[in-house]
């Protein structure tokens, strides 16, 4: 709680916001594991975005004379059971995995945030109804829920995204609700109420800014489980379909050679592992930096 001498303070709102941002970034930079996660994520996203330029082979081109090859100069990570280049497929698979993970986050975070804030602010029967619905979703293991949904709608990436979103929003709603219930009793919210602000305005302008940071941190942590769910659905043949190079699907088709040619399964497996860890590290760091209680 240091009071800065008046003369040193920022002179415009933009300057003040920049200063806050710099403080946040410098806090994040001092967090070694978060920075490691961030670097990994940048590499993974970069690899996914530039996959067409970074890949060395056509990902669908089969070469049955060269199947299950060990890593070599021609095929950096070897080839799979149909002689396709694993390195190239891994890069393109990253696109699908990150596409699923990001879209799921974009769908589930706002739903969770709105449900949680409405529930926490209004309380009473609104809270009871919304929380019982949330609990019904929470009661199912997320993969089972996603499985049931995909089984009903048919396997595809889009359905996998919807299915995983269904399983992802309830914990976010619970988080936003808890945060809202804590904030709504505070004096600064009482002060806005005394200015005649509507419930809507209070939620959007005053409560959401308190909930959003912890939701962002939570969603980043959830990314790991989203990626695992997506890979799980792909593995079970209910997500991305062959010959799509989705990591779960790759792992699934490689599992019959896991004892004889381990590297075929290891490549997508390690990719899933590293991506999940990277999201987890960044999420942990973000939680430390963004959570107001850590100030």
């Amino acid at each position: 709680m240091t009071a800065i001498p008046a003369t040193l303070g920022p002179r415009t709102p933009a300057e003040a916001r920049m200063q806050q941002l710099r403080i946040t970034v410098s806090k994040l930079r001092r967090n070694g594991s978060a920075m490691l996660g961030l670097i990994l994520l940048v590499i993974i996203f970069g690899a996914a975005i530039f996959a067409p330029w970074l890949s060395t082979h056509d990902i669908y081109a089969q070469d049955l004379t060269n199947r299950l090859a060990r890593p070599s100069a021609a095929n950096w990570l070897g080839t799979d059971e149909l002689g396709r280049d694993i390195y190239s497929r891994l890069l393109h698979g990253g696109r699908i995995t990150l596409y699923i993970a990001c879209l799921t986050a974009v769908i589930s975070a706002p739903i969770g945030l709105v449900v949680g804030m409405v529930s926490g602010w209004f309380g009473g029967w609104v809270d009871v109804v919304l929380m019982r619905v949330t609990e019904i979703f929470l009661a199912f293991p997320s993969l089972i829920l996603a499985l049931a949904f995909v089984a009903a709608l048919g396997p595809s990436i889009e359905n996998a995204i919807i299915a995983i979103s269904l399983a992802t929003w309830p914990p976010i709603a619970r988080l936003a609700r808890a945060e809202t219930m804590m904030v709504r009793r505070s004096d600064y919210i009482a002060a806005v109420r005394l200015q005649g602000a509507s419930a809507w305005r209070i939620m959007v302008g005053h409560i959401a800014p308190m909930c959003v940071p912890s939701v962002i941190a939570r969603v980043t942590l959830n990314m790991a489980s989203i990626i695992l769910s997506a890979a799980g659905l792909g593995f079970l043949g209910l997500g991305a379909q062959p010959p799509s190079p989705e990591w779960g699907a790759m792992l699934s088709s490689a599992r019959q050679f896991i004892l004889s040619n381990g590297h075929v399964a290891a490549a997508p497996g390690i990719a899933i592992l590293i991506t999940s860890i990277a999201f987890n590290l960044v999420g942990d760091g973000l939680r430390d930096v963004l959570d107001p209680r850590h100030d």
């Binding site: 709680m1 240091t2 009071a3 800065i4 008046a6 003369t7 303070g9 920022p10 002179r11 415009t12 709102p13 300057e15 003040a16 806050q20 505070s186 004096d187 600064y188 009482a190 002060a191 806005v192 109420r193 005394l194 200015q195 005649g196 602000a197 305005r201 302008g205 005053h206 800014p209 308190m210 107001p292 100030d295």
Partner: protein
């Protein structure tokens, strides 16, 4: 002629569907320009009265009259504008993620007053802070500076009555005096009426013209500031309460 600004008649406030009665039949009248104190030990219901008067808790029996007219359960903007509140804890009463400029602009916009920047600069000057404080966040301010911002937020809508909920009890002793002097000066310059809650008899004796002593949700008696200093009281409880804080008054 008496010019009553704020009046409470048989104010009774219960919580948990009547299981706990926090305030029982409270009654007081506050004249224009007066500073009226509510004092008592913690849990006696003084803050509850303040929150009901402010309109934060509309679940009460009896009536609260502003300038002779009864306040409705659902307050309208003009009611909010006429009465503003300063909270006890300046660390909890400012939004941690909003800079001073945004905190002060919000009430101007909500009340549709216009002329935002001029009002903000003026109110900051009034509470003794320069315009450079506009772009600060609460965590960059000291406790006293925060409380000044909270007072500025209340004053920016030009209220007639200021409800003060122990405005200095969370501050350092040296800062307490600054804030109390600021409040005294503002009342004189802006012609404000204060309803002030405190458990600190020294603060009340310094700030208020008349004081109501509360115990267990009831107002026991009403005495003037000179009576407080001289110890002229009717109730035993008041005498005990004053005796317990006697060094504070005579000092």
């Amino acid at each position: 002629m008496r010019d009553t600004v704020l009046e409470a008649v048989d104010l009774t406030i219960s919580f948990n569907d009547g299981a706990v009665t926090a305030v029982k039949g409270a009654k007081f009248r506050i004249e224009r320009g007066e500073s009226y104190g509510l004092i008592g030990e913690s849990g006696c219901g003084k803050s509850t009265i303040l929150r009901a008067v402010a309109g934060l808790n509309t679940d009460y029996d009896g009536s609260i009259l502003f300038e002779g007219r009864e306040l409705p359960e659902r307050r309208r903007k003009e009611h909010f504008r006429a009465m503003q509140m300063v909270f006890q804890d300046p660390y909890g009463s400012l939004h941690p993620r909003k800079m001073v400029q945004a905190v002060l602009a919000e009430p101007v916009r909500l009340m549709g007053l216009g002329d935002e920047q001029r009002r903000i600069d003026e109110v900051l000057r009034n509470v003794g802070l320069g315009p450079e404080f506009r772009f600060r966040y609460p965590h960059e301010l000291s406790g006293g500076q925060r409380q000044r911002i909270a007072i500025a937020r209340a004053l920016i809508v030009e209220p007639k009555v200021l409800l003060l909920d122990e405005p200095t009890s969370a501050l350092d002793v040296s800062v307490q005096a600054e804030i109390l002097n600021l409040l005294t000066r503002l009342r004189r310059e802006l012609g404000l009426t204060y309803l002030m809650v405190s458990h600190d008899i020294a603060v009340i004796a310094h700030m208020c013209d008349r004081v109501a002593i509360m115990q267990h949700g009831r107002i026991l008696e009403e005495i003037t500031a000179p009576d407080v200093r001289a110890g002229r009281v009717a109730e035993d409880y008041t005498r005990e309460f004053l005796a317990a804080s006697a060094p504070a008054i005579t000092a």
